[in-house]
């Protein structure tokens, strides 16, 4: 019963991400933070700054880490820092109003983010093409739904992966009346000639220049790279992990003992949570900030990372 905040947030975020996806989770987090700040009583600005730093530390310590949430918290932390350093004399009611306004605009922006990516995706021509889907992504679904709404003609081939995720993709395509076929992912090579391009979503981009994607993505992307077919990733830049990460240090493995049902053969079954896929393998990366080549995105990422490190250092000095 005595769970730490880190453990409580980890469990809660993971459960919500499984149910709703990372983007909806990040909106839910911002809405909850808005309500929490709104209901917070008996504060001065300094006390709030301290409490918010503690909360940010908890958010940074969840397993797995959610870059999209951490990014939002750093936006608020930046405002809290400015208020602490530049307007220390300012009373809490006024400060609280500023935080609420900031959160409100962030929620609005977050809700529009997907639409911005959809807008950018209009520059990709996929009319009359056969598109392969694998990684289950709400952003890719939004792009396809918008294209279908605009009466674009295209076909989808779904490469099977985790049954729940594949099932959700199938349900989406069925609901939107998008023509589709399903193929086991290990037999893709048999229909490679029919496929024109691969659409992927991603959980995050790491400082090691790898995208984190559903397991099995790496092999599939390598196959497409080998066949010289275009591979597109649709991801919000708010999902970027703006911290230094070790190669593969955050890919979680789950090992379990299993028995084959008819004969009693016990064996170890290893399951990985995600794949790391090199950014260089992708043709284009479509974000709300624009469409990038891997080279361009590396530059963009490095600038963002540097900015974040600077802010962290400034806040560290205040501690």
């Amino acid at each position: 019963m005595t769970q730490t905040f880190d453990e409580q947030f980890s469990k809660l975020f993971r459960e919500i991400e499984i149910d709703l996806g990372a983007t909806s989770l990040s909106i839910l987090v911002l809405e909850s933070l808005y309500k929490a700040v709104q209901g917070l009583k008996g504060q001065d600005h300094h006390h709030f700054f301290e409490q918010f730093q503690e909360l940010t530390q908890n958010i940074e310590s969840t397993e797995p880490k959610y870059a999209i949430i951490i990014d939002s918290f750093y936006h608020i932390l930046r405002l809290a820092y400015v208020e602490e350093v530049i307007h220390p004399e300012q009373g809490w009611p006024l400060g609280k109003k500023k935080f609420l306004e900031q959160l409100e605009s962030m929620i609005k922006e977050k809700k529009e983010e997907k639409q911005k990516i959809v807008k950018q995706s209009e520059k990709i021509n996929f009319s009359g093409k056969n598109i392969l889907l694998y990684h289950h992504s709400g952003t890719v679904e939004a792009v396809l739904a918008a294209a279908k709404k605009k009466r674009k003609k295209f076909n989808v081939i779904v490469a099977e992966q985790d049954p729940d995720k594949t099932g959700e993709t199938i349900a989406f395509l069925h609901n939107k009346k998008i023509p589709f076929r399903v193929v086991p992912s290990h037999t893709i090579s048999h229909i490679m000639d029919e496929i024109d391009m691969l659409f992927m979503g991603a959980l995050t981009l790491k400082s090691s220049n790898d995208f984190v994607m559903d397991t099995g993505s790496n092999g599939l992307v390598l196959q497409f790279d080998h066949a010289k077919k275009p591979i597109y990733v649709f991801i919000s830049t708010k999902k970027f992990s703006l911290w230094k990460s070790e190669k593969r240090s955050e890919v979680f493995t789950h090992t379990s003992q299993r028995q084959l049902h008819e004969k009693a053969i016990s064996f170890e079954r290893i399951k990985f949570s995600h794949d790391r896929v090199e950014m260089d393998l992708f043709t284009k990366i479509i974000t709300e900030e624009g469409i990038f080549t891997p080279e361009q995105l590396k530059k963009f990422y490095d600038e963002r990372l540097e900015e974040r490190i600077k802010l962290e250092k400034r806040i560290e000095l205040l501690r």
Partner: protein, 434 residues
């Protein structure tokens, strides 16, 4: 003369020890009473209180359809939202919602609605949900005591007497509200430091609470509300309750009112619900259990045993009406702590009629019904096995990883039940003007 008593006692013991399903046992008892010639078939059928059976069936239909509209789930989630994560408010809003819902729905349905939301919210906040769950079980039984349709003992009493829906509320609201205030105050005071301290100045706790409330909202109301369906349900429930409350003016039996409400809602919601499916959710086995029970009690009454029991209780009171009331209240309470109170109340109804026949009318003989109702309903709170809602609540909590042992529950249940019975004693003695 004693054969029906033996059959009834054996059947009751088999029900208590759950040797067979209670409906099968009650039906067996009824069949034995007829085969052994204790009552003939016509008398047996005549002893079934069809008012009660129809009232129960109609309320089950109303509740099932309304449940499908998600109205009750919406209400529970709404309470969580209003609480804004404040532990004291969560506690108070949840127990009051439980008590309110229980006064119109059956207690088990209320508990099935409340416990999963409570566990998800309170456990998610890193707190121990036990006091909340135990309190909800407690208040489902207390709330159920308020109305004629709230708890089976009251349905039995209402079905056998001409006491109206409004008279139940008029006569029982003081001990129910008094017990609610006292019990909630005691639980809050006992756990103030560990469970109910405000969190309004703690950003992390507030944030966590709001996250959980959001999660509960999409988990329990994921599909969203069908507003037309909800509006139809609210409309029918509203007019049904209004008809219950004005029963004396309308001159309609409660069973007729409930059946009219159920039929109206079935008609209005024909697009939203499948009739056959809804009908299959009515607990027909419970209705059959009641029918069997009525036949057994009718047989005992037929041979005159219950008259002897009435005389015995009256004589034991030594001519003191206060003593008589206390005997009915506390014996009902003590028996309901460990036994299913439905057979007991079914048996006691003819006994109370017998006692009333011997009483001076100036003594307000109606109070005996309230003593029976308060004793049977409040008594069920003392132990896990005292009422169905207790068993279901504990089981649901266990499924969500919260283990409440028999003794753990009784540690709260027994003393708090004694307090509620004491409140009832004071009320009854005051009402009797002694």
């Amino acid at each position: 003369m004693w054969l029906p008593v033996i059959i009834f006692t054996v059947i009751l013991l088999l029900i208590i020890f759950e040797v067979f399903d209670k409906t099968v046992l009650a039906s067996l008892g009824a069949v034995l009473m007829i085969i052994l010639g204790i009552v003939d078939f016509d008398t047996a059928i005549a002893s079934i209180e069809f008012d009660t059976i129809i009232l129960l069936m109609s309320m089950m239909l109303l509740v099932e359809i309304t449940k499908e509209s998600e109205l009750f789930t919406w209400l529970t989630v709404k309470m969580a939202k209003i609480s804004k994560g404040n532990p004291t408010l969560i506690f108070l809003l949840f127990i009051l919602t439980t008590a309110f819902l229980s006064s119109f729905l059956d207690n088990v349905t209320t508990i099935v609605l409340m416990v999963p939301v409570t566990v998800a919210l309170v456990k998610g906040m890193g707190r121990d949900p036990k006091p909340y769950i135990i309190a909800e079980i407690f208040f489902s039984n207390i709330g159920g005591t308020l109305t004629l349709i709230g708890d089976p003992p009251n349905i039995l009493i209402g079905g056998s007497t001409d006491i109206s829906f409004f008279e139940f509320i008029e006569n029982l609201w003081i001990p129910v509200v008094g017990s609610t205030i006292l019990i909630s105050g005691i639980i809050l005071a006992l756990h103030w430091k560990t469970h109910f301290k405000p969190i309004a100045s703690d950003l992390r706790k507030l944030f966590l609470s709001h996250m959980l409330i959001k999660k509960i909202t999409y988990k329990f109301l994921g599909k969203g509300l069908n507003k037309t369906f909800v509006a139809k349900s609210v409309f029918v429930i509203f007019i049904t309750i209004a008809a219950f409350l004005t029963q004396n003016i309308l001159h309609l039996n409660v069973a007729v009112i409930a059946l009219s409400g159920a039929v109206l809602l079935l008609l209005l919601s024909s697009k939203e619900v499948e009739f056959e499916k809804t009908l299959s959710r009515v607990e027909w086995s419970t209705l059959l259990f009641f029918a069997g029970l009525f036949v057994m009690v009718g047989a005992i009454e037929h041979v005159g045993v219950l008259e002897i029991l009435s005389d015995f209780i009256s004589d034991s009171a030594g001519g003191s009406y206060a003593m008589l009331l206390m005997m009915v209240l506390w014996i009902s309470g003590l028996i309901s702590m460990v036994l299913n109170n439905i057979p007991f109340v079914a048996l006691m109804i003819p006994v109370i009629f017998g006692i009333q026949a011997q009483l001076d009318p100036s003594l307000n003989p109606e109070l005996l019904w309230w003593a029976l109702s308060l004793g049977a309903c409040f008594g069920g709170n003392a132990t896990v096995i005292g009422a169905s809602a207790n068993v279901i609540g504990i089981d649901l909590a266990k499924k969500d990883g919260v283990h409440i042992s028999f003794l753990n529950y009784m540690k709260y249940g027994l003393p708090l039940t004694v307090i509620t019975l004491a409140v009832s004693s004071v009320y009854l003695i005051f009402r009797a003007g002694i």
